[in-house]
């Protein structure tokens, strides 16, 4: 069947125009650039202050504003970083942060995605009420759950040492224990975000896959998840950051200092160095490094709308 080739529509985007037009366009865009750069700078001021301060001596920090360091950039010091990085166990704390954060975020995302798929694309009695309760638990403050969960963990403790990883198999001072706790605390938001995103996928796509012979699992893994990469990336970033920066849960559930994450280590640093800003600023900057890498690695997924071209309208 010889169908005629209909011609590709020309793109409206790049019409070069004359140099004068181009110059006018550039002028029109000036306020845009001013606004973007201005806001970005405004937002960066505290961070810049942090970074700059982390390279200054305690006397300088106490004596003059951080902006003075930018004027005379030559008396910067690495002493603060030396102090932070020479802490014993810091490498292990860094590793602990990763051991805690990666599985915990993975649990949240996977479990939430399963639930969100059921909420978005299956019909069952009590669906909306259940969603209401589940997402409503978003408001439960973590502090509120600590005592009951702690009591539960003590009761269910399994005192078997996990090889390589360290810590108990379950209970307090165990990685699985804190994975599940973090995994659960992240769920309401994750379900809410993913339910919204999944629900916005075109119904036709799901149905086409079902007719193509896909099971629920296949629809989920081969259609829904690939199409939800932007939402999953966003969720991964947020969940990673919240878990990485958590102090309270680690404080309560990880008694063993060998299992403690960076935040706990830094908090201890604060108490041993007192209110010495300079060390804390350096430590804060070290702890930010991984979240920033994660953010830069995943942020390209926000840049392109992946749904373009699937269905019309």
């Amino acid at each position: 069947m010889a169908m005629t080739d209909d011609v590709e529509r020309p793109t409206l985007a790049a019409a070069p125009g004359s140099p004068r037009q181009r110059r006018r366009l550039r002028l029109e865009r000036l306020p845009l650039h001013v606004a973007v750069i201005g806001l970005a700078l405004l937002w960066s001021i505290p961070t810049i202050a942090l970074v700059v301060s982390s390279f200054r001596t305690p006397e300088e920090i106490a004596g003059s504003g951080w902006w003075n360091a930018i004027k005379t950039p030559f008396d910067w010091t690495f002493a603060n970083y030396d102090a932070v990085l020479s802490q014993r166990g810091l490498a292990r704390a860094f590793l602990n942060s990763i051991i805690i954060t990666v599985p915990a975020s993975a649990i949240t995302i996977l479990v939430a995605a399963f639930a969100a798929y059921a909420f978005a694309w299956m019909r069952f009695p009590g669906r909306n009420l259940l969603l209401l309760v589940l997402v409503g638990l978003l408001v439960v403050p973590v502090q509120m759950t600590l005592i009951p969960v702690l009591r539960l963990y003590v009761a269910l403790s399994v005192d078997v040492e996990i090889p390589l990883l360290g810590g108990k198999l379950f209970g307090t001072s165990s990685y699985p224990g804190i994975w599940l706790a973090h995994g659960a605390f992240g769920l309401p938001f994750a379900v809410y975000l993913l339910r919204n995103f999944f629900g916005g996928l075109p119904r036709d796509l799901i149905e086409a896959a079902l007719l193509d012979g896909a099971s629920d699992m296949q629809v989920f893994f081969r259609i829904v998840l690939p199409l939800s990469v932007p939402a999953l990336a966003a969720l991964a970033i947020f969940d990673f950051l919240w878990t990485w920066n958590d102090l309270l849960v680690a404080l309560v559930f990880l008694g063993d200092p060998n299992l403690a994450p960076m935040t706990l280590r830094i908090a201890n640093l604060v108490s041993s160095f007192g209110a010495s800003y300079q060390v804390l600023t350096a430590a804060a900057f070290v702890s930010m490094a991984v979240p920033l890498v994660v953010f830069f690695a995943l942020q390209r997924y926000f840049v392109q709308g992946i749904l373009a071209g699937s269905v019309k309208g």
Partner: protein, 370 residues
């Protein structure tokens, strides 16, 4: 491939009846078009057959198998969606191959089938592209390709042409008909456009408000609409429908409505008299109203006095919008006609092709005239 049947199938959404006791048999290899205005239940019927919705009452079977409780994926049907529903993250090749991969066919066979489908549809060069890099027409063909490779028991097509521009739609219409012939498969095609139904269908089923109105070949539906709805829906321009009284005078039978006065043949008059009540709705297709100066050969004319509102010259024919009292009718006349807007005009009505309907039941009245 197998015969598909709907047996008293109903679908309710809450208290709304989307489909009311549909009974319909679709033979192997048919090109059946479900046609009707939006909300008539045609898409619901298709989705019930596909297994995307659950039947509220009745039975759907494919071959000997009742499929009411069978998964969509196990019904061996392929569907082309109005939106095309291409998987945006897969290449054209992967889109077409998806169903075969899920069925775990050997790689070589998948490649063979995909290439064959691509060849049939003329999209071989597009296989590596992503859907967003395709034009509307190309996407539509990919959607068709996805269905073809499956070699399903039947193809379900849900308004597949409505996102194409007018020219492409006409072209694709002919190509779909050819494709049907070539594959010899059952096509079940849903559309609101009666032109698509008339041009492609081997059989049409007209639905309105969830109720099946009539089934038949395009010619049957056109010549013998069973009720007022089908009469008005099939044909373009639509059949002229006018409420009138039958009158018997000494000269013979007349149809009267305000300014309209049309003399009927004796046979027709007798049949109407036998039917009963004086009030009828009569229908006449535009091509059965002629300019008396350019009559067609086999016409049994009766004169109708009217005035001309608008003249539309199409080249091959001319449409006259005529006014008879408050009734407006459209005539499709010989292009040489010299009728002018604003003038009065005597139209010749072909008495052999009049349709009559009971105003109460809206059913056709048989007058056995041709």
């Amino acid at each position: 491939m197998a015969r598909i049947s709907f047996d008293n199938v109903s679908k309710l959404y809450g208290s709304v009846t989307a489909l009311n006791e549909l009974s319909l048999d679709i033979e192997n290899g048919e090109f059946l078009v479900l046609v009707g205005p939006s909300g008539c239940g045609k898409s619901t019927a298709l989705r019930l057959l596909a297994g995307l919705e659950e039947v509220s009452a009745g039975r759907i079977s494919i071959g000997d198998r009742t499929v009411n409780d069978i998964n969509a994926k196990d019904r061996d049907l392929a569907m082309v969606f109005q939106s095309y529903a291409l998987y945006p993250h897969m290449s054209v090749y992967d889109n077409i191959a998806f169903g075969l991969k899920l069925r775990k066919l050997p790689k070589a066979e998948i490649a063979e089938r995909v290439n064959e489908a691509a060849r049939i549809l003329g999209i071989e060069e597009l296989l590596k592209r992503k859907p967003r890099q395709l034009s509307g027409g190309q996407r539509q063909r990919v959607a068709l390709g996805r269905a073809i490779v499956r070699q399903p028991a039947a193809f379900l097509l849900d308004e597949p042409l409505s996102n194409l521009d007018a020219k492409l739609r006409v072209q694709t219409r002919a190509e779909l008909a050819k494709l049907h012939e070539r594959l010899g498969a059952t096509f079940i095609y849903v559309t609101h456009d009666q032109v698509e139904a008339m041009t492609m269908a081997s059989r049409i089923a007209v639905l309105d408000e969830g109720v099946l109105q009539q089934t038949g070949t395009p010619a049957e539906l056109y010549a013998k609409p069973r009720n007022l709805f089908v009469a008005g829906f099939i044909g373009s321009p639509a059949m002229n429908l006018i409420r009138a009284q039958t009158e018997r005078t000494e000269e013979g039978f007349y149809l009267c409505a305000e300014a309209l006065r049309l003399r009927l043949s004796a046979d027709t008059g007798a049949a109407l008299a036998a039917w009963g009540g004086p009030e009828v709705i009569f229908g006449i297709r535009p091509e059965d109203i002629h300019d008396p100066r350019y009559p067609r050969a086999d016409v049994e004319p009766s004169n109708l006095e009217c005035s001309v509102d608008v003249v539309e010259k199409m080249g091959s024919e001319t449409y006259l919008h005529l006014r008879v009292g408050s009734a407006q009718i459209v005539a499709r006349v010989d292009p040489r006609s010299e009728a002018k807007a604003g003038e009065s005009f005597t139209a010749a009505v072909d008495l052999k092709n009049l349709h009559f309907f009971d105003p109460a039941t809206e059913q056709a009245i048989s007058v056995t005239n041709g």
